[in-house]
Subunit: 223 residues, 2 copies
């Protein structure tokens, strides 16, 4: 509910005043926001369409009107989440930095994105429980692929040329390491707390883990 930047909703056409006051885009966004919270909290099968509808400003009827069925709604939520992280990745501008700094900042930003968006992390968990079937059927997410991996490849090659990175590494492997170190503390936060009594969401713990992750990635890559 808080990480949705809901712009002031510029009504393209004048807004009449009456009993009803219709606003399709707003309704859509409203449904999506509530749906995301529910799916993130209870999973795809755990979430209840009635519950989502109840927490919305509109009715269950509208959910089916706009999204077809429960899976369509889930898919829309998933696509929005992936679109958002793709935007985040595109917003990174690391080309100007020296390789070592670039990787460090990429790792730091990635860590922060995961820590700041547990909803995204939990959605990805849910989707993986379902064997990523919906990622498959939905819009080709392949663009993610390029942006993230190519960015790493570019930095890595610059680092090789500059002689600061060790040779023989795979950009995908680097990406997996950064992702794993960013994802795990968030995805497994609850069980870590339960088993080790450590709250990874606490500011100090998070900062220390962040530093450790960056350091680990640098040590992995640097000569």
């Amino acid at each position: 509910m808080n990480q949705i930047a809901r712009p002031p909703a510029p009504p393209p056409v004048a807004r009449k005043s009456s009993s009803w006051t219709q606003d399709p885009e707003g309704v859509r966004r409203g449904i999506l926001a509530v749906a995301r919270e529910e799916f993130v909290e209870k999973g795809l099968s755990g979430a209840r369409v009635d519950e989502i509808a109840a927490r919305t400003a509109t009715s269950k009827r509208m959910i089916y009107y706009y999204f077809g069925d429960k899976e369509g709604l889930y898919r829309a939520v998933l696509e929005e989440a992936y679109a958002r992280i793709r935007n985040f990745e595109r917003s990174l501008d690391l080309a100007g930095l020296p390789p070592r700094e670039a990787i460090a900042r990429l790792a730091g930003f990635t860590f922060d994105y995961h820590a700041d968006n547990p909803d995204f992390v939990r959605l990805v968990m849910v989707e993986n429980i379902h064997h990523a079937r919906h990622l498959e059927s939905s819009s080709k997410i392949g663009e993610l692929n390029l942006s993230a991996i190519d960015m790493i490849r570019e930095i890595y090659e610059r680092g090789l040329a500059a002689g600061v990175f060790r040779e023989g590494l795979d950009p995908i492997d680097i990406h997996l390491t950064i992702s794993a170190l960013s994802f795990y503390n968030v995805s497994n936060q609850a069980s870590i707390r339960q088993v080790f009594g450590h709250d990874m969401a606490a500011p100090e713990a998070r900062i220390r883990r962040r530093d450790s992750a960056i350091e680990t990635v640098l040590r992995m890559i640097c000569r």
Copy 2:
């Protein structure tokens, strides 16, 4: 179905033959095995008690007789999974190895355990989706805590004394890094395949990722 080492089921008391042939322990185990598969595949809310019952040699009635309700059954599955990894950890004998070898083998074994037991990984994902509520209510899993972390602490201190490890590291941090690098490829296997077209379960990919994880852990810890 394959990663459960089901010992030859030594019937402590003789087995009679009759129309019915009652065997509580066997029934229990049978239910648990099917239930694990279902929960792992569909999650807690996605799994259906009727479906579990149908795949069992016995009936739904027995599930409720032995486990009370769906959550009780889930809890039993969860406890069994954690008991199993605790056994695995206890079975590791690294005290005799030089520190560097010990950490490398710990990382390798941990990686292999996760890769060989995707059921465990998926169960932990499911449990985290549910905020580890059932880990909390079930038998104190705190013993895990000790065994895993203390083992690392012991190795780490030997490594410090030998001058091969760098100072200032937290055993929990080391554990989290090893776990993250072991867990992520399995938990996110489906989305990795979907987004990057890489199959982490393929033998070559797995071996390369394993080597990379071990190397990364060593570089993280060693001076």
